[in-house]
């Protein structure tokens, strides 16, 4: 590895202007991503947006066309042995040799990672299987594993050797709700130990709950990056009001749209609307006054934070 940068000393992963093309077909155009040490970073984007391609480029499974990749401040070169010793990767839909038992999978990759102490490897394998909830299936061949079990085993393989950075592509895919909670708790535990996690997921509420920062990509480009709160504020001031009136006329909606700071009014159903506000101030008085002006009555009004899902959909729509 080479090219250590002082600025990147706080970064576990840095991707700059990454481009990967398959002949004339572009995989990713311009992906930028920074994962700070000791954080859980969400990596979001619609299917085919370039998340998996980016992750595979970082792991050296795909050769980048251009751009910069730095892991813990160093650029991986050749087989990137030093980098891979510090990084655990879990692909989307992980596959393992079907003839091996769950415990043997971990022993095998543990040996390939350079583990020579069989006793220690065995102990680590059992502990990881316990951690991902596969202790009871340790002696079952992988060919008989369900999708969810393979996901859990994929997580265990990524955790082999206690990596400092985990790159996880859809780690809750195929898991039942209990499994999702277990994974969430496990990832939070890893971050509290000071490890870094890059997490790609379609479960937006979960990402919002778990990740301190997110990067959103679309059509092979980074659309935005930042903390979930900052992004929400950048989007709509981070405040949304859900209001119910006794009657709702087009004139009233038009009037609401003209209120200072209101960026969008969305009719949900019947007389219920959602008002997005770009300035953080109490809108309830204005809503009540406007309603009475047009012969209506404000029945209820709740203030809520803009969800990551709304933010994601809006940004993706904008960048299309």
């Amino acid at each position: 590895m080479r090219g250590s940068s002082p600025a990147s000393s706080v970064l576990a992963l840095e991707v700059k202007n990454l481009m990967k093309s398959y002949g004339a077909f572009p995989g990713v155009w311009d992906v930028n991503l920074t994962v700070e040490k000791g954080t859980l970073h969400g990596f979001l984007g619609p299917n085919g947006s370039g998340k998996t391609t980016t992750m595979k480029c970082v792991m050296g499974l795909l050769r980048k066309t251009s751009g910069l990749i730095r892991v813990f401040g160093e650029e991986p070169l050749g087989d990137a042995i030093r980098m891979k010793k510090r990084v655990g990767y879990m692909p989307e839909s992980p596959s393992f040799p079907t003839y091996l038992k769950g415990r043997e999978v971990l022993l095998t990759y543990g040996r390939i990672r350079g583990g020579s102490d069989e006793g220690r490897l065995d102990e680590e394998s059992r502990s990881l299987l316990q951690k991902v909830g596969l202790a009871d299936a340790a002696e079952k061949t992988v060919g008989k594993y369900s999708r969810g079990m393979l996901t859990r085993l994929g997580l265990a393989v990524a955790l082999l050797g206690r990596p400092d950075l985990l790159i996880l592509d859809e780690p809750t895919e195929g898991l039942d709700p209990v499994g999702v909670i277990q994974v969430r708790e496990m990832l939070n535990g890893l971050v509290s130990e000071g490890r870094s996690v890059l997490l790609s997921s379609h479960q937006l509420p979960e990402v919002q709950q778990m990740c301190s920062k997110v990067t959103i990509v679309n059509n092979g480009r980074t659309v935005t990056e930042g903390s979930v709160d900052d992004l929400a504020k950048r989007f709509h001031g981070g405040v949304v009001y859900k209001a119910e009136f006794d009657s709702l006329s087009p004139e009233l909606i038009s009037k609401l749209k003209k209120i200072d700071g209101v960026s969008e009014v969305e009719v949900l159903h019947d007389n219920v609307i959602r008002v997005f506000v770009s300035k953080d101030y109490d809108l309830r008085v204005f809503l009540a006054r406007s309603a009475s002006e047009y012969g209506s009555l404000l029945l209820s009004c709740e203030r809520e934070e803009a969800s990551l899902e709304e933010l994601f959909l809006s940004l993706v729509k904008e960048s299309d």
């Binding site: 795909l62 050769r63 596959s95 393992f96 040799p97 079907t98 095998t108 990759y109 990672r113 994929g154």
Partner: protein, 289 residues
């Protein structure tokens, strides 16, 4: 590298295909070593053979383990064992997406490649030993005591070398085809195509002798080179060819080399070249799915 070899061997030993192929050919050893002499009579086993000219004496076990396969059939024999056992070694990693967890580990691709081939070396050496011993045992039972036991390592290594030829070819094909089924198809196609070309050219121009220089066809190259080296390591060999032209073809001496050079050339052409070419593709292989 040893961890990869162990991983590969475990896989091989748990595959039905391995047992089917090895079992089939150990059964062939039994048929040729035991059933043929019993059925056809000792005269077949005691007849003058090509081996008799080289080594003296009609040795049935030697005949079966070595020269009985010195035909198109020998190519098939080594293709089935060496080639088919190795066909999905690299390809299935890409076929089944297991290349992702494997190549994400902190290990050089060269170690993965060599480790996998090392597993084939171990497996094919065991198959060579088992096959030769089974032929010897079957011949002992069917037609009595066999002679020239000092040829045992020679025969084992000759078979082993020929197996490696096809294993290396399978690694080469697997590293860019990346599909087990495609590698099997390509192996068979290459084998049939070259054999057909050799047959046509050999019959038309009388080039049968020169065809010994073509690996793959019937595994003659290493099958002949290795024993020759073991028997006469510091001897010399005259490589002969035929001059082609508008007039009649005439035999000409191409060159004279030492047996050592010959065996090294044999190994280089038949094993190391396809292996190195395969590594070139494997080194550059991307894991897209």
């Amino acid at each position: 590298m040893w961890a990869v070899a162990r991983y590969e061997l475990t896989w091989d030993l748990r595959k039905k295909r391995t047992y089917l192929i090895v079992g089939l050919f150990l059964f062939t050893a039994f048929v040729l070593g035991y059933l043929v002499p019993i059925t056809a009579g000792k005269s077949v086993a005691e007849g003058q053979t090509q081996l008799g000219i080289i080594f003296g004496g009609g040795l049935w076990w030697v005949e079966v383990a070595y020269m009985a396969f010195n035909t198109f059939m020998s190519g098939l024999f080594f293709l089935f064992i060496g080639g088919f056992i190795s066909a999905d070694s690299l390809a299935s990693e890409f076929d089944h997406n297991t290349a992702v967890p494997l190549l994400s580990q902190p290990i050089r691709r060269a170690e993965v490649y060599v480790g996998k081939f090392l597993a084939k070396i171990i497996l094919l050496l065991v198959v060579s030993v088992l096959f030769t011993l089974l032929v010897l045992a079957a011949s002992e039972i069917s037609i009595g005591a066999q002679a020239q036991m000092d040829m045992l390592p020679l025969l084992v290594f000759a078979e082993f070398g020929a197996f490696l030829e096809f294993a290396a070819l399978a690694f080469f094909l697997g590293s860019f085809a990346r599909s087990g089924e495609m590698v099997l198809g390509l192996l068979i196609t290459v084998f049939i195509m070259i054999t057909a070309v050799v047959l046509v050219l050999g019959l038309k121009f009388g080039l049968q002798e020169s065809m010994f220089l073509i690996p793959v066809v019937n595994a003659d190259f290493l099958l002949n080179v290795i024993p020759y080296y073991i028997v006469q390591p510091w001897g010399v060999m005259v490589l002969q060819g035929y001059a082609l032209g508008a007039g009649p073809t005439v035999p000409v001496t191409v060159t004279v080399i030492s047996a050592l050079q010959y065996v090294l050339a044999g190994l280089a052409i038949s094993v190391l070249t396809p292996l190195a070419a395969g590594y070139y593709f494997f080194r550059r292989a991307e894991v897209k799915e």
